[in-house]
C-alpha cells in the first residue's frame, strides 16, 4: 500500500501567508491607569476587555541549529474557548524605513487536546507563563497591555509570580502579505501614545543571548 502523496511544494495562500506587524513597548505599573485611559479614548468605543491567558512554548529540536518554535495559548478566563496555536517566522529584513517588525505568522485554532498532540509529535515544552491584562482594538489594530507572570510549579496556573514591575504593551496587525500601508497607520497611532509609552520595533533575534 502506498503512502498518500505528500505535496512537496509549500502551501501558499489562505491563512498561510499572513504577516504580523508588531510594535512593542512597556510601562511601569504606576503608569498603567493613565495608559488605559488614553487607550480607551483613542481606540474603538467598546467596553474594555480583560483577559487571562496561559501560554506554553514548544520547541522541536531538529538536526539543524535553529529549533522550531510553536506557541500554544489558552484562555483561563474563557475555559471553553479553543486553544490557539501560533507559528512566528523570522522577522523580515526589509528596508530599514519600515516602522514595524514584520514576520510571517500562522494562526490555528485547536481543540483542548493540543498539548498531548504536540508532545506526541515530538515537541517539548520549553517554558510557560501566564499573561493577564487588557485588550483594545482600533480598526484592524490590536493593542494588548499584559502583565507576565512566571509559573512556579509546572502545570499549576494558580501559583504565579510576577516577572517584573511593568506591563508589556504590544500593537499588532494581521494583514496579508504585500500590504505595507498598515505600518504607517501603526506609526501614527504609536505617535499618539508617545509620552506615555514608546512603541518601537524590537528585534527578538537581537534579544537572545
Amino acid at each position: 500500500m502506498e503512502a498518500p502523496p505528500v505535496t512537496v511544494m509549500p502551501v501558499t495562500g489562505g491563512t498561510i501567508n499572513m504577516m504580523e506587524y508588531l510594535l512593542q513597548g512597556s510601562v511601569y505599573d504606576q503608569a498603567l491607569e493613565s495608559l488605559l485611559h488614553r487607550l480607551r479614548g483613542l481606540c474603538d468605543n467598546m467596553e474594555p476587555e480583560t483577559f487571562t491567558d496561559h501560554e506554553l512554548v514548544y520547541l522541536l529540536k531538529g538536526q539543524q541549529g535553529n529549533p522550531f518554535i510553536l506557541r500554544a495559548r489558552r484562555s483561563l478566563s474563557h475555559p471553553t474557548s479553543p486553544w490557539h496555536l501560533r507559528y512566528l517566522g523570522q522577522p523580515e529584513v526589509g528596508d530599514k524605513s519600515r516602522h514595524a517588525l514584520v514576520r510571517n505568522c500562522v494562526d490555528v485554532a485547536a481543540s483542548h487536546s493540543l498539548p498531548e498532540f504536540l508532545n506526541e509529535m515530538g515537541f517539548r515544552m520549553d517554558h510557560e507563563f501566564v499573561a493577564n491584562g487588557h485588550m483594545f482594538r482600533k480598526g484592524a489594530m490590536k493593542i494588548v497591555v499584559s502583565k507576565l507572570s512566571r509559573i512556579l510549579v509546572p502545570g499549576n496556573t494558580e501559583n504565579t509570580e510576577r516577572l517584573s514591575l511593568s506591563y508589556l504593551v504590544e500593537l499588532n496587525v494581521l494583514a496579508p502579505a504585500g500590504q505595507d500601508n498598515m505600518s504607517d497607520d501603526m506609526r501614527s497611532f504609536a505617535e499618539q501614545l508617545k509620552p506615555l509609552v514608546h512603541l518601537e520595533k524590537i528585534d527578538p533575534s537581537k534579544q537572545r543571548h
Binding site: 481606540c43 467598546m46 491567558d53 474557548s81 479553543p82 486553544w83 494562526d107 485554532a109 490590536k142 499618539q192
Partner: protein, 643 residues
C-alpha cells in the same frame, strides 16, 4: 477825631475772682470779693494822711475814680492808686489804639473828600508796558511747547489704552476660538498633527469598515476686522470638510409601478429643503453633521450596490449611477437612490417641475440608517474580541469551526446570510402588502354597505409582520351576528388568515385573492346571521350548510344556505346566499294557505293541511328594511302569527 462819637473800648480780665483753694474733688473756692466798706477800709489804710495838698488833689481825683472802681476791675485800681501814668500797663495799648484810630479817621476823611471829586481825584498807577510785555512769538512758542508736552502725555496714555483694548480683543478672539475649540472637542474627535488640527468625522471608531478617511481640518477665523460690524453668524472657528462630502444627501426609497421604459434611469436628483437648523447650533456643527450624514449615506449605498451585484437573486437588481432598482412583486418596482446635492445646485432648481407626489418611504430610509448602525455595532461587539488574546479577530463561533470540525452547512448557518439589500427589500414588500391590504379592505367597506366590514389594525407591528382583525357585521345586529371574525397576519409575501372557528387560510400577495375571500366571507355571514337570528326569534334551524353543492356554481367561493322553521312549524324560510349570485329567499307555506289544493282521497284528516306545502320566492329587493338581517327579522315577524 472831631465830631465822631467816642469809641468805647472795653477790657475784660480773664480771671474775675482769685482762687483761694482747690478742693480734692476739683471745686475751686474763690476769694469772696471785698464788699464796699471793706474796699474802702482797705484803701483808707493805704492813704497816707500825713502828706500835703498835692495829694489831696490826687485824693480828690482818686475819689471820683474811687466811685468808678466799683464798676471797674481790681487790677485797674492798683494802677490808678500809684498815679504814675508811664507805668500804666495799658499805656502802650492805648497809644496803639489811638494811633490806629487816627489812621482810620484820616483814611475816612480822605475817602470822603475823594468821593466828592472836587478837591481830590483818584488816578490809576500807570504800568511800565515795556517791562511786562513779552513778544508774541515767544508766547506762541512757549504755549506750543507746553501744549506739546501735554499732548504727548495724553497720546502716550491713549496709546497704552488702545493697545490694551486691542490686546483684550485679541485675547477675547483667541479665547473665543479656544472656547469654540473646546466645544468642538467635546463633540468631535480631534488630533493635532504638526501645527494643524485635524478631526475625524467618519464612523470608523464606531465600527464602520468604509475606507473613507473622513478627516476634516479646523481653521482659525480670527483675521476679521473687529471694528467693522460682525456678520450674524460669525464664528472664530471654521471647519473644512472633504470636498466629496460637501452639501447634503439622503437615500430615497420608493415603490412605483414598473416603468415601461428604462431610458432615464439614474437621474434622480430631487432635493428636499434642508432642515432648519436649531437656533444656537454653531455653523461648524451643522456642517460636520451634514458631512457625516453624507458619508453614512454613501456607505449605505455602497453596501447596497455591492450586494446588488454580488447576491444572486431570481430577478437581478439593476444598479445604474445613483439608483438601485429591483422588483419585489411583479409589476412593481422598488428604487433606492442616493440623492446628493451640493450647495450650488440649489440655483438650478428653476425648472418648473410639477411637484410629484412624495412617494418617498421615509420609514425605509430610517430603517436603512438603523441597520447600518446595527452592523457597525456588531463589528464592535465583544464577541469579536479573541480569547486567548493572541488569536486574530473574528466571531467567537467561527473560531470553533476548526476544532469542532464544522461542515459547510454549519458554517453557512453561522454566517449572516442576509445582507442589507435583502432586508430592505423584504421590508418594502411588507410595507407594500400591508398598504394594499388596507386599500382592499377599505374599498370593500366603502363599496358594500350590507354587511359591514370593520378593520382593527394592531398598533404594535414588526418590520416583517403586521396584523389586522377584520369583523363582518350587520348594522344593528352586532351582538347577535358576530360569527365572522378574521385575524389577518400580513407577512412579507403572504397573508395568513385565522378564522374564528379555527380554520387557517394562506393567501398570496395577489390583491384579488383577498378580495374574493372577503366577499365569500361576507356572503357566509349573511347566512350565519339568519341562523343566529332564528335562535333569537325562536325559530328552529332545520338545516345549515356553509358550502352547498346545489344550485349554480359560484366563481368566488361557495354559496351557503340555511333553512329555518317558525315556532309553530307552519312556515319555513330557506335562504341561499352566494358571493356572486346574491341571496335567494324562499318561504314555505302551510298547505292550508295555498290556493290550488289538490283534492285527494289519501289525505282524509284535516290536520294534515297544517303541514308545510309549496314554497314561494320572496322578492327580496322589494322587501322593506335597511339591511338583510332587518328584512329577515321583519319577515320572520310577519310569519309568526300573534297568539
Amino acid at each position: 477825631m472831631s465830631g465822631c462819637p467816642a469809641v468805647r473800648v472795653s477790657i475784660e480780665s480773664t480771671c474775675e475772682k482769685q482762687v483761694q483753694e482747690v478742693a480734692l474733688d476739683g471745686t475751686e473756692t474763690y476769694v469772696p470779693p471785698l464788699s464796699m466798706s471793706q474796699n474802702l477800709a482797705k484803701l483808707a489804710q493805704r492813704i497816707d494822711f500825713s502828706q500835703g495838698s498835692d495829694s489831696e488833689e490826687e485824693v480828690i481825683e482818686g475819689e471820683p475814680r474811687d466811685r468808678e472802681w466799683t464798676k471797674q476791675e481790681p487790677e485797674e485800681e492798683e494802677g490808678t492808686v500809684k498815679f504814675q501814668p508811664s507805668l500804666w500797663p495799658w499805656d502802650s495799648v492805648r497809644n496803639n489804639l489811638r494811633s490806629a484810630l487816627t489812621e482810620m479817621c484820616v483814611l475816612h476823611d480822605v475817602l470822603s473828600v475823594v468821593k466828592e471829586k472836587k478837591y481830590m481825584a483818584l488816578d490809576p498807577v500807570s504800568q511800565d508796558l515795556t517791562a511786562s510785555k513779552t513778544p508774541q512769538v515767544f508766547q506762541l512758542i512757549s504755549k506750543k511747547k507746553s501744549l506739546g508736552t501735554a499732548a504727548q502725555l495724553l497720546l502716550k496714555g491713549a496709546e497704552k489704552l488702545s493697545k490694551s483694548v486691542a490686546e483684550n480683543q485679541e485675547n477675547r478672539r483667541q479665547r473665543d476660538f479656544n472656547s469654540e475649540l473646546l466645544r468642538l472637542r467635546s463633540q468631535w474627535k480631534l488630533r493635532k498633527v504638526g501645527d494643524k488640527i485635524l478631526g475625524d468625522l467618519s464612523y470608523r471608531s464606531a465600527g464602520s469598515l468604509f475606507p473613507h478617511h473622513g478627516t476634516f481640518e479646523v481653521l482659525k477665523n480670527t483675521d476679521i476686522d473687529l471694528d467693522k460690524k460682525l456678520p450674524e453668524d460669525y464664528c472664530p472657528l471654521d471647519v473644512q470638510i472633504p470636498s466629496d462630502l460637501d452639501g447634503s444627501a439622503y437615500i430615497k426609497v420608493s415603490i412605483q409601478k414598473q416603468a415601461p421604459d428604462i431610458g432615464d434611469l439614474g437621474t434622480v436628483a430631487l432635493f428636499r429643503r434642508p432642515p432648519k437648523t436649531k437656533a444656537g447650533t454653531q455653523q461648524w456643527h451643522v456642517k460636520l453633521e451634514a458631512a457625516q450624514n453624507v458619508l453614512l449615506c454613501k456607505e449605505i449605498f455602497a453596501q447596497l450596490s455591492r450586494e446588488a451585484v454580488q447576491i444572486k437573486s431570481q430577478i437581478p437588481h439593476i444598479v445604474v449611477k445613483n439608483q438601485i432598482i429591483s422588483q419585489p412583486f411583479p409589476g412593481l418596482q422598488l428604487s433606492i437612490s442616493l440623492c446628493h446635492s451640493t450647495g450650488e445646485k440649489k440655483n438650478h432648481r428653476a425648472s418648473p417641475e410639477k411637484p410629484k407626489p412624495d412617494d418617498h418611504l421615509y420609514v425605509l430610509e430610517h430603517n436603512l440608517h438603523q441597520m447600518m448602525r446595527e452592523f457597525h455595532k456588531q463589528q464592535l461587539s465583544s464577541v469579536v474580541m479573541p480569547h486567548p488574546a493572541s488569536a486574530p479577530f473574528g466571531h467567537k463561533r467561527m473560531r470553533l469551526a476548526g476544532p469542532m470540525a464544522y461542515d459547510k452547512a454549519e458554517i453557512f448557518s453561522l454566517q449572516q446570510n442576509e445582507g442589507l439589500l435583502e432586508k430592505i427589500i423584504k421590508q418594502a414588500k411588507h410595507i407594500f402588502l400591508r398598504s394594499r391590504t388596507a386599500r382592499t379592505i377599505d374599498s370593500l367597506a366603502s363599496r358594500i354597505e350590507d354587511p359591514q366590514i370593520q378593520a382593527h389594525w394592531s398598533n404594535i407591528n414588526d418590520v416583517y409582520e403586521s396584523s389586522v382583525k377584520v369583523l363582518i357585521t350587520s348594522q344593528g345586529y352586532e351582538q347577535i351576528c358576530k360569527s365572522i371574525q378574521l385575524q389577518l397576519n400580513i407577512g412579507v409575501e403572504q397573508i395568513r388568515v385565522v378564522h374564528r372557528d379555527g380554520r387557517v387560510v394562506t393567501l398570496s400577495h395577489q390583491e384579488q385573492e383577498l378580495q374574493d375571500f372577503l366577499l365569500s366571507q361576507m356572503s357566509q355571514h349573511q347566512v350565519h346571521a339568519v341562523q343566529q337570528l332564528a335562535k333569537v326569534m325562536g325559530w328552529h334551524v332545520l338545516s345549515f350548510s356553509n358550502h352547498v353543492g346545489l344550485g349554480p356554481v359560484e366563481s368566488i367561493g361557495n354559496a351557503s344556505a340555511v333553512t329555518v322553521a317558525s315556532p309553530n312549524g307552519e312556515y319555513a324560510i330557506s335562504v341561499r346566499n352566494g358571493p356572486e349570485s346574491g341571496c335567494k329567499v324562499l318561504v314555505q307555506f302551510p298547505r292550508s294557505q295555498t290556493k290550488e289544493l289538490p283534492k285527494s282521497d289519501v289525505i282524509q284528516d284535516a290536520k294534515w293541511s297544517h303541514l308545510r306545502g309549496p314554497s314561494k320566492e320572496v322578492h327580496w329587493s322589494r322587501m322593506e328594511g335597511r339591511n338583510f338581517v332587518y328584512k329577515m327579522e321583519l319577515l320572520m315577524a310577519a310569519l309568526t302569527p300573534c297568539p
